[in-house]
């Protein structure tokens, strides 16, 4: 594993919101094909960490390298970075005024400058992969939450990203729909995608994660492979957290 290419490197990352120190000296290395699960109480900085990686938030200190490219602190090369990184949000963030298909052809047509027909082929391929191909002409708000989140995953995949970030993708879903989204994510993981997932779905973590990271107060408290993390967390903070969610 250690010889694989480093996809994401976070070195001594520090970030403040005003006076509030949200990320404190965070270090993280994700290699090609690795799956990381980040968990922790709300306000621990886990979302902020992955949002820094694709430049939705700008950091003040430290370095972030994505695919070997240094992320500029002022966001001057954010488009270069974002082209490699797909992101799935807690609240789906599909574009409600565009059909499912149009949501998915947007990037291929504009970002990758493909002709419409080719972009539609790609979009349909990814929609099929998440099992929504027969809903392609509907509008997002006509779909259930689980379906919307699957469309959001397909939409992120149309950029052909090397890394996928998931920001609590199942937290806004009804319990009945969580598994359909997790199934898609598991499949994606099995296809070898590099993934960082902020999630509290510990079953998912057990099944696919190479490493589980526990964050609190803006710091990485501990990280380890899922089996040992779940079986024997080292810190009292992680123990207390696990006892609440398991």
């Amino acid at each position: 594993m250690a010889d694989k290419k480093k996809m994401i490197e976070v070195i001594n990352l520090n970030k403040w919101f005003g006076q509030f120190h949200v990320l404190k000296d965070v270090n993280l290395t994700v290699r090609d094909g690795e799956k990381y699960v980040i968990c922790g109480p709300s306000g621990s900085g886990k979302s902020t960490l992955i949002r820094c990686i694709n430049q939705l938030e700008h950091h003040q200190e430290g370095d972030i390298l994505v695919g070997g490219v240094q992320v500029e602190k002022k966001g001057t090369n954010s488009r270069l970075i974002r082209a490699q990184v797909g992101m799935v949000f807690q609240s789906f963030n599909l574009f409600p005024h565009l059909s499912v298909l149009e949501n998915c052809t947007l990037t291929p047509q504009l970002g990758l400058e493909m002709p419409k027909a080719q972009a539609e082929d790609i979009a349909m391929k990814h929609l099929k992969r998440v099992g929504i191909e027969d809903q392609a002409l509907k509008y997002p708000l006509q779909l259930s939450g689980g379906q919307q989140q699957r469309v959001a995953i397909a939409r992120a995949l149309t950029m052909q990203p090397k890394i996928m970030l998931f920001d609590e993708p199942t937290s806004a879903l009804d319990p009945e729909m969580i598994s359909e989204v997790l199934d898609v994510m598991v499949e994606l993981a099995q296809d070898g995608m590099t993934m960082i997932c902020v999630t509290h779905e510990m079953g998912f973590a057990r099944q696919v994660a190479d490493k589980v990271i526990f964050m609190d107060g803006g710091e990485i408290v501990e990280s380890g492979d899922p089996e040992s993390f779940f079986a024997a967390p080292k810190y009292d903070r992680s123990k207390a957290f696990l006892s609440h969610i398991l």
């Binding site: 694709n54 430049q55 939705l56 954010s78 488009r79 974002r82 082209a83 990184v85 797909g86 992101m87 949000f89 609240s91 963030n93 599909l94 574009f95 409600p96 005024h97 059909s99 947007l106 990037t107 504009l110 970002g111 509907k138 509008y139 708000l141 006509q142 959001a152 939409r155 992120a156 950029m159």
Partner: protein
């Protein structure tokens, strides 16, 4: 405890029809008009008031009205003040619509406005695809040809070119409409196909389209150069015509300018944000009437001696800037209603600022802003009556002029009644159209 291995099958209870007195017309009356005794009393009272007002208006405007008379005296002798005196309005009606525009040239105004309708008709044709382009062309290049119809006079080469652009645009719009309706192809592709070049490279096809456009433009320019209209100075413009010109410019300018100002105010670039905010706040904190005065009387003082800016133009500029500042705040409200997640999603998909704004944020924001935008348009349309203050004879001022005519001295209510009707028709049309638009755009949003 039963020990069946078969699971129980859940059977939802069948739906029953609603009780008959809660549906249909009777149900509606019962629920809304006669729910209880106070409600029923209010309904009867309301109906009575409506009856009294309506019968009074109808008596005055129709049954007691005078339809033929030489002057106001005759009217008063016939019915006193109990009935309207319509002949005065009838005599002045043309002036209320066209101002003091020469009578033998009035057809130019009619043609100018008819052209706009002709230009817009394809937007309501079901098979036409390029509706956005047609709408944009109506806003951006129609005004040239209309302005020439209205103003006439000498046209230099530059002015001719703009008019030719307008003419070519109109032809293009209809060629597009026809070719898209008949063949489903854009006009450019239709020409390419007719020339048998549909299998050629894209660059060559583009070239053909450019040449076709150039030929059309040259022909239009030749036509335009062969044709001229006598000049009608803008001080003869007036009535509804003037109102429509001023508010037309105000409306078409205020929306794009308002959008830019609103984006500017929310911009991350401090200079742009500051300038936009300063402009908006300045124009919003001054009454329109003051701005009109400033532009009318003070602007010439600051201009170099000898330059004369047309009074109408000054009024139009003042109205446009004022309207843009108001529109900017409406648009900003709409922009703020779009969840931040939409922008983040667009950014994370690699779209830049302009694409995020034009493809993701604005379409959604404009849709929810339609009522507010149209409200602003209606307000602006009515606000243009203020130009009468600086001596322009818009519809309102023209109506007042009727009562100052010695033959019809004191005849104010009747012309104002007509003005009210005209304003109502225009404003109600705008309002209904916006509602239809809202309904149409809402499809696909709801489950």
């Amino acid at each position: 405890m039963t020990d069946t291995s078969e699971p129980l099958v859940f059977q939802p209870a069948p739906s029953r029809p609603a009780p008959s007195d809660s549906v249909g017309f009777v149900g509606w009356m019962r629920a809304n008009l006669f729910k209880d005794i106070p409600n029923a009393l209010l309904t009867i009272l309301g109906a009575y008031i409506a009856f009294v007002v309506l019968s009074w208006v109808l008596n005055w405007a129709l049954f007691n009205a005078v339809w033929e008379a030489e002057n106001r005296r005759e009217c008063l002798d016939l019915v006193g003040r109990s009935g309207a005196c319509w002949p005065g309005v009838y005599v002045w009606f043309e002036n209320m619509i066209y101002g003091l525009y020469p009578k033998d040239q009035v057809w130019r105004i009619n043609i100018g406005f008819a052209l706009l309708i002709v230009w817009m008709v394809p937007m309501w044709m079901p098979k036409v695809v390029s509706k956005v382009q047609i709408g944009l062309s109506a806003v951006l290049i129609y005004p040239f040809i209309a302005s020439y119809f209205f103003m006439g006079g000498d046209k230099g080469l530059v002015w001719s070119a703009f008019i030719a652009l307008s003419l070519a645009g109109l032809i293009c719009v209809w060629a597009t409409a026809i070719s898209e309706t008949m063949t489903g192809k854009s006009i450019g592709n239709w020409i390419v196909t007719k020339l048998g070049a549909e299998n050629d490279s894209e660059a060559k096809q583009k070239r053909i389209k450019q040449i076709a456009a150039a030929i059309l433009f040259v022909v239009a320019l030749l036509v335009v150069s062969q044709w001229s209209l006598q000049e009608v100075r803008t001080r003869f413009w007036g009535g509804l015509f003037l109102t429509l010109v001023i508010s037309g410019f105000g409306i078409t300018f205020s929306l794009p300018a308002g959008i830019l100002l609103a984006l500017g105010r929310r911009s991350d670039l401090p200079v742009i944000a500051m300038l936009s905010t300063a402009f908006i706040e300045l124009f919003r904190s001054v009454p329109l009437i003051t701005i009109l005065f400033m532009f009318n009387t003070m602007l010439p003082l600051f201009m170099p001696a000898g330059t004369e800016v047309n009074q109408l133009l000054r009024a139009i500029v003042a109205v446009c800037l004022f309207a843009a500042a108001y529109m900017a705040e409406v648009v900003r409200g709409g922009l703020q209603a779009i969840p931040k997640g939409q922008m983040e999603a667009a950014q994370s998909l690699g779209l830049g600022y302009w694409r995020t704004t034009t493809l993701i944020v604005l379409p959604q924001a404009l849709k929810i802003m339609i009522p507010a935008i149209v409200g602003n348009f209606i307000g602006l349309f009515k606000d243009t009556t203020l130009v009468s203050i600086i001596g322009l004879f818009d519809l309102m001022n023209m109506a007042r002029a009727v009562g100052e005519d010695t033959t019809w001295l004191g005849l104010f209510i009747e012309p104002f009644f007509v003005v009210v009707m005209i304003y109502f028709v225009f404003c109600f049309a705008m309002s209904s159209y916006s509602m239809r638009l809202e309904e149409k755009l809402a499809t696909g949003r709801d489950r």
